[in-house]
């Protein structure tokens, strides 16, 4: 089983390949000196198409693709993602590249900074601004989180083109049920502890990551800026699932590729103390939709461990048993071939890891 593992870092993309998910060959940096906030592996193509949202601190952002697993890269002459002139806005970064419906291989979504959603129908060569979200009356009140004001999560419904869920920090979760024409805030039950008065506002929550399983498209999970939540009704209402975790702070939230209700996160002590709890590197897994949690650290660094895992620096592959992966701000990368129970180091001493994705090639 040939697996590709894409590792987006502050200074380029690294690619790891493995036939057993225990031993990895690393290549890179591809697109060197570009921040790679977004990677995607589009398994609707064979071989899978690699998608990279790369941004140069000097020369700006762009989207590159590879149809030969990183042997060569393609970038359109004209900017794939650009704000229309009338918006007055300029693309700062691409934070998310999300393949669309399985039966529509050209459909692709991008979440960007500043907060906007773009849709491609040609596999990522060009994108169009989704005006319904850009023109939302709440947009003026969305604030940048510590990392910038960006749509960092895009979850297109696997079969229904009318339904998309997006999330941002700080703004919260929004959903459309009419293909992007209108958007509703979807934050009932999610707390905003940093608000002085109403800590359950309609919007403005600092949601760090939202995950779901395509086979259960009404079941969502969110890691918040303090708070971990589940929604069983498509994001309309949320309940806390933080009991059983050592802390309710963190950035990552990952759903298992096939088993709805199996999720992973990497807890961090607190907003004001961004180290793992007890300075121990541990991945937490729930197999019952967040009712109970188990921490796993076999193969991970021993304490004290001071690093952290960012919102898109954790993922699953699509194999059986599922592989789980994460990268740290200190440039260490780990993989598990047994659904998160034991871990092997894939790489170390990389630039800080911003985004990861993995998939079976063949």
């Amino acid at each position: 089983m040939d697996t590709v593992f894409a590792i987006g870092t502050r200074k380029g993309l690294f690619l790891a390949r493995s036939t057993d998910r225990l031993h990895w060959d690393l290549s890179g940096p591809h697109l060197a000196m570009n921040e790679v906030y977004a990677v995607g592996i589009d398994t609707r193509h064979s071989p899978p198409r690699l998608l990279v949202g790369a941004s140069s601190s000097h020369f700006g952002p762009s989207v590159s693709t590879s149809d030969d697993l990183g042997e060569s890269w393609q970038e359109p002459d004209t900017a794939p993602i650009a704000f229309p002139e009338d918006t007055g806005a300029s693309l700062a970064r691409v934070w998310q590249l999300a393949p669309g419906r399985v039966d529509t291989p050209g459909e692709l979504y991008a979440g960007t900074e500043p907060s906007a959603l773009f849709r491609s129908t040609d596999g990522g060569k060009s994108f169009e601004l989704v005006r319904g979200l850009w023109d939302h009356p709440h947009r003026e009140q969305w604030e940048p989180g510590g990392g910038g004001q960006a749509i960092h999560t895009v979850l297109p419904h696997p079969t229904d083109p009318r339904r998309i869920v997006v999330a941002m920090s700080t703004g919260g979760v929004y959903r459309t049920e009419d293909g992007g024409e209108t958007w509703q805030p979807s934050n009932i039950g999610i707390a905003a502890h940093f608000m002085p008065d109403n800590q359950y506002p309609e919007y403005g929550q600092c949601v760090h990551k939202v995950a779901w399983h395509p086979d259960a498209p009404d079941l969502f999970f969110a890691q918040n800026h303090h708070g971990v939540y589940r929604s069983e009704d498509g994001g309309r209402n949320w309940q806390s699932i933080a009991d059983g975790l050592p802390t309710d702070f963190g950035f990552a939230m990952v759903a298992h590729p096939r088993r709805p209700g199996v999720i992973y996160t990497f807890p961090i002590e607190a907003d004001a103390r961004r180290f793992p709890p007890d300075l121990r590197a541990r991945v937490y897994r729930s197999e019952d939709a967040g009712r109970t949690w188990t921490g796993f650290d076999k193969g991970l660094p021993t304490a004290p461990f001071y690093s952290a895992v960012m919102r898109d620096a954790m993922c699953c592959d699509n194999a059986d048993p599922a592989g789980v992966y994460f990268g740290t701000r200190s440039g260490e990368v780990y993989a598990s071939a047994d659904e998160g129970e034991t871990w092997q180091q894939v790489a170390a001493h990389l630039p800080d890891v911003l985004s990861v994705r993995a998939a079976v090639v063949a």
């Binding site: 140069s56 000097h58 020369f59 700006g60 002459d77 004209t78 300029s90």
Partner: protein
């Protein structure tokens, strides 16, 4: 009139490998007109230098006959026949 754009080595992958581009412009053309013309012939090079709102990127410096364009009239800076426009990445990053 003809204006010469001097391209830094890091951007020559987007200029066809050359460090000098001689660009034909109408009389009274501006720096913005130069980049509009470059966008027609070398669109990737132009978008490395300017964003989609035609603003020169923050960490790219553009010198017109030795004067940094932000201290002139920015994109409205008038160019003379034979002018040299030098693109230099700023010293930034870590």
């Amino acid at each position: 009139m003809t204006v010469t754009l001097l391209v830094p080595s890091v951007l020559r992958v987007d200029s066809g490998g050359v460090g000098r581009l001689d660009v034909e412009l109408g009389a009274q053309s501006s720096l913005g007109d130069l980049f509009d013309a470059v966008a027609q012939t070398h669109p990737r090079l132009e978008r490395r230098i300017r964003d989609e709102q035609r603003r020169i990127r923050r960490y790219v410096n553009v010198y017109v006959d030795g004067e940094e364009s932000r201290s002139l009239d920015g994109g409205a800076t008038r160019l003379r026949d034979g002018a040299e426009v030098h693109v230099i990445p700023s010293v930034a990053g870590g």
